[in-house]
């Protein structure tokens, strides 16, 4: 700690602080425009000038000047105030005073400072800028006339997002912020630049002219898309969520959000939301009362036994999932599952066997504390963009080494010194085994490894996985495999990350075991910065696993679908899932749902699945609920309703509770009661209560009982003359819900097929050509996207879309062999 005097006050601050930081932690406010706590000091705006006695009273910028022992600083002498006033006068010289129509009004740093420093006249005069306003995209408006050149947008896009869409163009008075060749913004649309803009230069277009900033009620919540568990502040007015509000002090991510988190909220108040229960009469869904609809469902469930089954989306709260499970148990059925049945296997089978717990023994906070990251699939960025930002920051700011094992290159491959090993699709488990084999052969295993059960079996099973043997099938050089194994084993702290989800059938129990073996062999577990992080797809995927909402004694999702097709399942209750789009093999799923006698769907929207139902129940979004979500790293977070229920919709908690009561069971009164039960029974949740979770949530610890498990490897046989299609997530989407978020749909409105330049040239395909993609089970039409990241012979397509859906050709295999024609 360093001792110094600020404004005649004796204070202390940590070494390496700047004057600005030291003042801030001691409660002294220094005005500034170009500073953000997440970004490196820049010193652009000159508003933070202070006087330092040791520098003979010279005015220095507080944000870039490091503190020294005994420094005597004055932050608001008459000279300083005069200087700041002049800075404001100079900024206002070119800044248009169009505050009445500027959406930033009331939340504008420049406006607030102008008011605070009483700059009511300007001694100078000059022309305003005449830059053209960029309205070219529907999400971010760029008005460079208002810009004060603080550079925060360009810096955040580089330092955290690592996209680099914006930069300083030209110099001197002509300097402005813009994209290459003065083009329009064509980026990830995460809106980070909008969030840090101190003026109205960068604005969220969906919020334009919706409400004045001060008319909004800010409601804290947790994002309802992916499993990262980002905290959100929803801007609410008249029971409508109108925007997301940036709060730099919120969550581990300091308010940083991705495209869907920031711009995908519109589904909450969408016109397409279901308002009343619907019951199928004479073949068509007609409006009904809640009583009528619930009576019908209760009658079907009562005594249904194993002829009833349930599928839930892991977007439901923990409390709802517990209640749904109880409803099925009351009906006498153990057939319940989520995420297509296979998408949680990495946790529920893989980690459950290898670690003795169906959860990841690492947290998101470990990423920046590690020395080496091994990321399985570059898609980790697309599936969990805010975890991607953590990786960006770890690599760029902390010098963490990044190794990627993937079937294609991606955003993460572009990070400084990132090593990407691009293997043939479907060979990742073999490669990971080869890494383990190298660790054993090169005597890199930790001393503790041999004592872990299953060591001998693993050693024997890995015999055939020498790097040389795997090199052939994986398309990697044996030396590259050896190098990676050595780097991983020799790093003091190393963390492995991999995504799971409906679109990643290859990321299964075996992959999880293979990865766990690496960590166990080298002892990279249980310490800060080390471990394995399995990134589950939806906001409460980990919670669904923790609540035990998956098949243990009953049928899993796949078997439930088979049961529907065979007639064994007569009543199917689907809460929030949309299997027609999100499960593989659309034709088979549609046929099964067609066959099932009675289909109940509770959802926010009339999805493809709901359209087939006999009873449709309008459910509530996360913004209308109370409950808890558990993120990928088992951070349990409490959400409260931000708005009242839309229309007649009810929360799934109410729906399941009322059905339990109708079946003669005892329904808990509030989510809090259920959370009390969870805290008493779910492993790791002991001692938690809504009060103890607070605003930041609490981690449910993971107790590891290690065991080596031999992963099965299935060799992918190339099909002659065909291309390998791998499915996955698009950056702007998550599951099928984001189809109802306007932001994501503006940027990425439809499915596409990514292919390499070589394949495109061979097949004479041009960008945006409509392609016919055909596999053994069917065909679909997708637009071509030619990208340098795809290796020859490999195709990629995201799975989120109802129209021209990829599950018409994808049967659920990790690699689908397809032909592509124009």
């Amino acid at each position: 700690m360093v001792n110094l005097t600020i404004d005649d006050k004796q204070v202390t601050a940590p070494k390496n602080s700047t004057i600005y930081d030291a003042a801030k932690i001691n409660g002294i406010k220094i005005p500034i425009l170009c500073h953000d706590k997440k970004l490196k000091p820049f010193g652009a705006c000159r508003m933070c000038l202070v006087e330092v006695e040791q520098m003979r009273g010279r005015q220095v910028p507080a944000c870039t000047t490091p503190i020294t022992e005994g420094m005597i600083i004055r932050t608001s002498t008459p000279d300083i105030i005069k200087a700041r006033k002049m800075v404001l006068e100079l900024l206002l010289l070119n800044h248009p005073i169009d505050c009445p129509v500027c959406d930033k009004g009331g939340d504008c740093d420049l406006q607030n400072l102008t008011y605070e420093y009483k700059v009511n006249a300007n001694r100078f005069s000059d022309e305003k800028f005449h830059h053209e306003i960029d309205y070219s995209n529907p999400l971010i408006e760029r008005d460079m006339n208002r810009c004060v050149l603080c550079g925060k947008c360009a810096r955040i896009c580089d330092e955290i997002v690592s996209f680099g869409a914006l930069t300083f163009i030209s110099r001197g008075i002509e300097t402005k912020i813009g994209c290459e060749f003065e083009g329009s913004l064509n980026c990830e649309f995460c809106g980070s630049c909008v969030s840090v803009c101190p003026v109205g230069s960068l604005l969220a277009r969906p919020f334009k002219f919706k409400a004045r900033f001060w008319a909004l009620t800010n409601q804290k919540s947790v994002c309802g898309y992916c499993g990262t568990g980002c905290n959100l502040t929803l801007g609410v007015k008249d029971n409508k969520v109108l925007t997301t509000v940036y709060d730099e002090n919120q969550g581990f991510h300091n308010g940083q959000l991705c495209c869907r988190g920031r711009f995908g909220y519109q589904f909450i108040n969408s016109d397409k939301r279901l308002n009343t229960p619907l019951v199928r009469k004479n073949g068509s869904l007609t409006e009904a009362t809640w009583d009528e609809a619930l009576e019908l469902v209760a009658a079907r469930l009562k005594g249904a036994g194993s002829s009833a089954a349930a599928l839930a989306t892991p977007r439901l709260t923990n409390e709802e999932l517990v209640l749904f499970k109880r409803l099925m148990e009351t009906a006498g059925s153990a057939n319940y599952d989520h995420s297509a049945g296979y998408a949680h296997a990495a946790l529920t089978e893989g980690f459950a066997k290898s670690f003795g717990a169906a959860a990841s023994p690492a947290t998101i906070l470990d990423i920046q504390k590690s020395d080496l990251l091994l990321v399985i699939k570059t898609d980790s960025y697309e599936t969990h963009p805010v975890i991607g930002f953590e990786i960006n920051m770890a690599v760029k700011n902390k010098g963490v080494k990044l190794n990627i094992l993937s079937d294609k290159r991606g955003k993460l491959s572009k990070l400084p010194d990132a090593q990407t090993l691009v293997h043939t699709p479907g060979s990742e488990i073999a490669v990971i085994n080869a890494l383990a084999k190298t660790i054993l052969d090169d005597k890199l295993a930790a001393g503790t490894a041999a004592a872990i059960p299953g060591y001998a079996d693993l050693e024997k099973a890995l015999a055939g996985f020498t790097p040389e043997a795997v090199a052939g099938q994986s398309g990697l050089a044996a030396s590259a495999i050896k190098r990676l194994a050595n780097d991983y084993a020799k790093a003091e702290k190393a963390l492995i990350l991999f995504p799971i989800g409906n679109a990643y059938p290859g990321h299964n129990a075996d992959l999880a075991s293979a990865v766990a073996n690496l960590a166990l062999l080298t002892g990279k577990l249980g310490t800060e910065g080390s471990g394995v992080l399995c990134m589950a797809e939806k906001n409460n995927s980990q919670g669904a696993v923790d609540m035990g909402f998956y098949a243990t004694s009953g049928l899993n999702a796949g078997q439930i679908m088979d049961g529907c097709a065979s007639g064994a399942i007569k009543t199917l209750f689907v809460a929030g899932e949309n299997p027609v789009v999100s499960y593989p093999n659309r034709a088979a799923i549609s046929a099964a749902l067609d066959k099932v006698e009675f289909l109940v769907v509770s959802d926010l929207f009339m999805t493809e699945t709901a359209a087939m139902a006999d009873v449709v129940l309008p459910a509530c979004s996360f913004a209308e609920k109370e409950g808890t979500f558990t993120s990928v790293d088992r951070r349990v977070q409490h959400i409260k309703p931000a708005i009242r229920n839309i229309g007649q919709s009810r929360t799934d908690f109410e729906i399941f509770g009322q059905l339990i009561a109708k079946l003669g069971g005892q329904a808990p009164a509030t989510p809090a009661t259920v959370f009390g039960e969870i805290a008493a029974s779910a492993p790791g949740y002991a001692g938690m209560s809504y009060a103890s979770l607070g605003e930041t949530g609490a981690f449910a610890p993971v107790a590891v009982t290690a065991a080596f498990v031999v992963p099965k490897t299935v060799a992918v046989e190339p099909a002659a003359g065909k291309l390998a299609l791998v499915t996955g997530s698009a950056l702007y989407h998550n599951g099928t819900l984001s189809q109802f978020g306007e932001g994501p749909m503006h940027v990425c409105p439809e499915g596409y097929l990514e292919l390499s330049r070589t394949d495109a040239a061979k097949l004479q395909i041009k960008e945006n050509d409509l392609l016919n993609v055909a596999s053994a089970i069917g065909s679909t039409k997708l637009k071509a996207r030619i990208t340098p990241r795809m290796p020859e012979g490999v195709l990629f397509s995201p799975y989120h879309f109802g129209a021209a859906a990829i599950n018409q050709v994808w049967s659920g295999a990790p690699v689908t062999w397809v032909t592509v024609t124009k």
Binding site: G164, T167, I169, R171, G178, E180
Partner: protein, 170 residues
């Protein structure tokens, strides 16, 4: 992109041979801080920095395209449009100004039908006013590429243009 816009873009940006850029990039690829020498190299090779080349440099050096554009617009030495075979520079510094440089400039404008920092459609000439060429004793001064013409007169403008019209384009 509509067809008309696409066509316009095509016209503005003729096909460029990226293998020339490859040679320059290969030379500097392992050098830390290689962006400036690469951009200078491609400008030398192409006469300017075409957009396609800038994008290609971004891809090969793993630098944001925006950052490259930032550098290209920061330094006056980089040109984003094709430049003429002959760069005519007329000094308008103090000494040249008082000895009649404005009239020399006007005459060039009239004869070549282009303005400051513009290029003739046949890509033969680019005209630039410059602040000082450092040879005030020869004012008013003009330069064509590396050839210097001192004590310029309006008549000499005709002679210079006549002479360089005869020179080969390659």
């Amino acid at each position: 992109m509509s067809e008309a816009v696409a066509q316009q873009a095509e016209e503005q940006e003729p096909e460029v041979d990226l293998s020339i850029a490859d040679k320059v990039i290969d030379k500097y690829i392992d050098l830390p801080g290689n962006l400036m020498p690469v951009l200078q190299g491609v400008q030398d090779a192409y006469g300017y920095v075409p957009r396609k080349v800038a994008d290609y440099v971004a891809e090969r050096l793993n630098v944001y395209p925006s950052q490259i554009y930032g550098v290209l617009t920061f330094y006056a030495q980089f040109h984003l449009k094709p430049r003429g075979r002959f760069i005519i520079r007329v000094c308008v510094g103090t000494a040249c100004h008082v000895s009649g440089a404005p009239r020399i400039v006007e005459t060039f404008f009239d004869k070549l039908h282009i303005g400051h920092a513009e290029t003739t459609p046949d890509l033969r000439y680019t005209f630039e006013k410059v602040a000082c060429l450092g040879a005030c004793g020869m004012a008013p001064l003009a330069m064509v590429n590396d050839d210097t013409f001192g004590k310029m007169t309006v008549q000499k403008v005709d002679e210079i243009i006549a002479e360089y019209n005869q020179r080969p384009m390659k």
